[in-house]
Amino acid sequence: MEETIQRLAKTSMIIPFYKIVAAGFPSPAQDYGEPEIDLSKVLQPNPTSTYIIRIKGDSMREANMPDGCLAVVDRSIRPYSGAIVVAVLNGEFTVKRLVKAGRNWVLHPENPFYKPILISEDADFQVWGVITHTIVDQK
């Protein structure tokens, strides 16, 4: 008797109950299933080089970047004239539209109350990443 109990104890196992399966008609949709749209794939196709930042201030208001919004920055995109970039100018972060004007590069705000910043040749300047999307809470 004891031997039997021990053997049962050794061989018994828990079978988890995973999923409800329709016992009646199989769903006609079952072979056509697709995963739901994944927003993270839309917003960050290159996840390892993408960062989320928060914008404070209204100098980019007219580029759909209100104060307090989130922005998606991809560091793998090469900066180009017309791109909205996260730049580091003399050690400080800023976000502006990068524009080539003749031989010079300019950081252009999107708000008439702000002045464009001409990047002088001796400035310590670097583009940190290119902004690909902004996320604005409309509630």
């Binding site: 109990i5 021990q6 104890a9 050794k10 828990i14 290159n46 996840p47 390892t48 080089s49 960062y51 989320i52 930042i53 928060r54 914008i55 404070k56 201030g57 100098s59 980019m60 970047m65 989130l70 560091r75 793998s76 996260v86 580091v88 050690g91 400080e92 972060f93 800023t94 976000v95 502006k96 705000p109 670097q126 940190w128």
Partner: protein, 420 residues
């Protein structure tokens, strides 16, 4: 060929990415509890800050050189490491993540690539994550390590060095010190120096017989690797750990049992979560408690105890029960305790557990509870939203982390904020 990709001053680079004004400034990162220096930028190395130096002894020096100091933010470093490793995996099938900031890439199945160009491209791809790396490529892991060192030291601008000819291998061997060799620790260094060895080249020229006699089979393997014969395999599958230890110093000395029990409960919860993550159960737990042996005026106490569990388990609830029992057995009042730890031992896969005949615990229910607990806590921005009562209290044990940077990549409330 094998590549070794190594992040440059990894922890300092993680902090700098989000604070670019620190680009040319000395940066140091402190250990848990802000105790001593565990990472330095090149500028910090240049002004003579030593690895392991206690922070409180250097306050004046750190201030006078305007050194940026950070508490270690392992949440951030782990996330950045993940980005780097994922990028490497996009460029190579076989990646061995060797440590938080190093990986070996197996290139023998990519014989047609131009190694130097490949490495330069790879370096640029990883740079997009924000972390600068150096890359060494060579026929063996041990040589790849040396090539990497060489790239860091002599080819900083390119950050890449390929050992694709005997001449290049010899050059690197001649300018690598004996203790730069992977696997040569302080003891072998001492022994080899006593026998007049200075560079890796000296070791390669030593008779094989001598190496086998004085450095066993380990030395023989090292010798072959240095000669370009691969002997150390790629390890791409992470073996489940045999023990899980969670032990940390308190932010301040503690005597009160309630405070210590609270710390132990939290460490136990962490250990149990790790245990479940690798699908194991523990058969034995060890709890140890110790005073600070650097404070010589204080009476000293150290005790450790093993408890055998009736049935191997991974349930936090059950482990807490035994951890508390262990503390009851080893705790003594009136000491200034510095540290407590728990080690989960004799781990077995959780699907091979035999339940005891007189087992009173409802194991399936416990298991479901733990699964739910882990799922909830995973989905809440790294916060432990649901926990056991024993884990809450006045948190006197908490680590000192006065210079902690935000978790920029894992918590929405911590993302980089830019004033524009």
């Amino acid at each position: 060929m094998i590549a070794l990709v190594d992040c440059n001053n990894f922890y300092a680079s993680c902090e700098r990415l989000f604070q670019p004004h620190l680009a040319d400034k000395p940066v140091v990162v402190l250990s848990n509890n802000d105790g001593c220096v565990i990472a330095r930028s090149d500028e910090a190395k240049a002004i003579g800050i030593e690895m392991g130096a206690p922070a409180f002894l250097m306050e004046e020096m750190l201030r006078s050189h305007d050194v940026a100091i950070f508490s270690s933010n392992y949440t951030l470093y782990g996330s950045m490491s993940d980005r780097v490793m994922k990028t490497l995996q996009m460029h190579c099938h076989t990646v061995e993540v060797y440590s938080i900031d190093e990986a070996f890439l197996y290139l023998y199945d990519m014989p047609h690539i131009h190694y130097e160009d490949y490495a330069i491209q790879l370096r640029a791809a990883v740079k997009a994550t924000g972390i600068p790396v150096s890359i060494g490529i060579a026929p063996t892991k041990t040589l790849a390590k040396l090539a990497n060192r060489y790239a860091k030291q002599y080819k900083k601008a390119v950050g890449v060095h390929v050992l694709d000819s005997p001449a290049k291998i010899n050059e690197v061997l001649s300018c690598s010190a004996i203790d730069d060799i992977w696997g040569v620790g302080p003891q072998y260094t001492k022994m080899l120096q006593q026998h007049g060895f200075k560079t890796a080249m000296d070791l390669v020229r030593a008779p094989e017989e001598w190496v086998r006699k004085n450095m066993t089979v380990v030395g023989q393997r090292m010798l072959n690797e240095l000669k370009g014969i691969p002997c150390i395999e790629m390890e791409t599958v992470i073996a489940p750990r045999k023990n899980i230890t969670v032990a940390r110093s308190f932010g301040q000395l503690l005597s009160d049992k309630t405070d210590i029990a609270e710390a132990l409960a939290n460490y136990t919860a962490i250990a149990a979560r790790k245990l479940r993550k690798q699908h194991s159960c523990a058969r034995v737990i060890n709890v140890f408690l110790q005073t600070n042996n650097f404070r010589q005026k204080d009476p000293q106490y150290y005790r450790s105890i093993n408890l055998q569990l009736p049935v191997p388990t991974s349930s936090t609830a059950e482990l807490l029960q035994y951890a508390t029992k262990a503390l009851d057995l080893i705790y003594r009042p009136h000491y200034n305790f510095k540290k407590i730890g728990i080690i989960l031992m004799e781990l077995a896969p959780d699907n091979q557990v035999q339940s005891g005949l007189f087992d009173q615990v409802n194991r399936p229910r416990d298991q479901r509870l733990m699964t739910a607990l882990d799922a909830i806590n995973r989905s809440w921005d790294g916060k432990e939203l649901v926990k056991f009562g024993r884990q809450s209290g006045n948190r006197r044990w908490k680590l000192r982390q006065e210079k902690l940077s935000p978790c920029y990549t894992t918590r929405l409330q911590d993302v980089l904020t830019i004033n524009i």
